[in-house]
Amino acid sequence: MDRLNRRAFLRSTLGVGGAAALWPSARALGANDKIIMGVMGLGGRGTYLAQKFAERPEVEIAYLCDPDTRRFARVREAVEEEQDRSPKMVQDFRKILDDQSVDVLINATPDHWHALGTILACQAGKDVYVEKPLAHNIWEGRKMVEAARKYKRVVQTGMQSRSAPYTHKAKEYIRSGKLGSVYLVRVFNMMQHPKQASVPDGPVPAGFDYDLWCGPAPKRPYNPSRAWLNQFDYSCGPIAGDAVHQFDLARFLVDDPPYPSAVAQTSAIRSLVDGRDMPDTQMALFEYDGLTITLDATLWTPYMKKIPAGVRDSDQFPNWPFCSTKVEVLGTEGFMCFGRHGGGWQAYDRDGELVHSEYGRQGDKEHQDNFIQCVRTREKAMSDVQIGHLSVLPFHLANISYRVGNQRLRFDGATESVTNCDEANRYLKRQYRPEWTVPENV
């Protein structure tokens, strides 16, 4: 039965109205059915994902969507190079959701659109591949999990390093006990960002639906130089947005501890005094049951380097002391240095002797494979929405601590709330614009 026939069959057996209201586009995909996707957000990551999914013969990109029409050409061309059918170009993602032939929404928007875009997609019966960090705040993350579960949707978070085979080998190694008992994991994210430019507010460029871009976030006057990543209104920050990869790896390596019970951190804007409200320096300590995870994060350390292109996907290791995206796992018997981006890992014994080395390859393809497979099988994805939620949640807490004067916060995972600072709980959720509100009951 081909795809259209199956849909017609569902309509005829369930009744058009009933089927649409109950499960708008949840169709049973056959092994040979193409998975129809729409891509929301056509920046660098959205363009990359659109192209990568378009390369797959089992996928068709039916929609490309961005409030800024000036972004259309680059990604449309890339997709048309990979598939026969031209995608529809739309500014408003709701046109994707309204199309019942679409199975999947790729959500590669700025942070402030992750939750609402994902929840509305779940309500419309779409599976979702949503970029990290999963949510703009803790409450939104919980609502995303609830929506995925309620509507039985596959929601994959774009934390692809979790799918890399060398990551799984590292986890096996730690599980074997060769490092002894692991009590401390150190996460590094030490970057080099430029200052953001400073120019006056100005008119919104033609072709850009700025109101839609703002969506649930405040509609501040348009400023061409404002980097959304540096503002709490739109983002979890450049540290959380990047370090969440390493933090997710750290959690994965030690069997995904759920919630930290406390967060202590100190953050400040030291070097990049340019009008941002996000810190450029963040040293944090997350207390889990029997485990401490620390975060060393900076945005002004040029000697610290991401793993070079020539090292990624090769039989080489990064220069560990100056590796900006490493994870160190400290056990009672041994030590592991692990690199993101396919940097591989090396383990040392109690005498500091190198005892195991494993080269790495990046996990993008495997992560996308996993998502495609789960869309067909209805299994939970490798970076299921709950995992995405729990991997970014500690960063939200660290940011909240920063906003309440670097206080140490105690956290109750059962209620997902702070227990020792009422002011901190104000930041668990954001204020929404009325027309773009994440509902309490998803």
Partner: protein
Amino acid sequence: MARQARSCDVVLCVALVSVCCPGVRARWLPTDDVKVRLETTELGGPKIVVEYDLKDPNVSPESPAYVFLRYSKDFGKNWQLLSTDALRGNGFDIVAKPGHKEVVWWGTDQTAVADLGQVEIRVRAIAMARVPAGRFVMKSLPGGGRDESKAAPPDVNLPLYYIAKYETTVAMYADYLNEVGGEGAGWNSRMAKADRCGIVQESDHTYHVAPGREDYPVTYVSWYDAMGFLQWCGLSLPTEAQWEKAVRGGLYLDGDQTKKQPNPLPERRHPWGDEAPNAGGVYRCNFDGPDDGFERLAPVGSFRRFAGPYGVCDLAGNVAEWTLNWYTTSYHVGLDGFRMARGGSWMAVPEGCDAVTGATQLPLKESSIMGFRGVRNSAVESK
């Protein structure tokens, strides 16, 4: 070589001479009647004299030709660019007048030319536009940001440079491939698509242009391909600032030295002014859709009525153009950084075909919406 041993002789050389490969002349400016002779001098050693006629009447100080010479001394197997340091005369580099030209290549003994009969010299010319030194209003932000709001924009001062009037064409690029691309370098199979590029590779690694595609801008060229072509010519990619100044013009169109021609629209959005590309039902460049007369690419110069203030064509639409600039963020550190492409394309919305919109692209990207043009940075005025 016996003929050269005789001092003060003037030897008429039988060297092979060509303008460019047959059938791929389009968009090289014609250089006719090329003649080469060898002269030996008593004190200066041997020299080769190249003569040709540059007949295009449109060549002028404002619209000069960039002329470069390449030579082979092994029957055309390997070719090299003749360095301007070794040349004298009125017919190389930036040439500002049409007419008979003579180029003297000194120091030919250093090139170890054993037999002049083996030597081939090719003369090629590209139509350029002169952009005088001076300030202009740069509105794009570094790294692809956009700023259309500056009440008092900073002036960016650029020295004199020359920029190609047209994007590099399929024919020009195929000519380049036929000279250097014997192993396939610079070509990829997508270039063979006749509706988007049209350069076909033969089994012997020669190249031909699909019929009718000669004057279209070359596409599916990576940043490295573009740089390879331009280095072959002795040119460079424009910086973002150079590209944007070609769109808007300087504060004075004759430059800051004379300041006689104030730019009437120094902050224009498009090469022709501030009107949208499709305002009033007039189509000023090739953007998305067929209404402008082109479903996909257009031959270069199809919208020359709407050229920029220096006569540079197709800066808006048709193909976005690689620039020299990198786009680097922390996310990309350690990678081969993104480069900026400017100008919109045949797939872009009209608003994207302006002076400030840029797109980041990985340098290895080969795309049907991206091409390039060259720039000659010059510290001296044209000849």
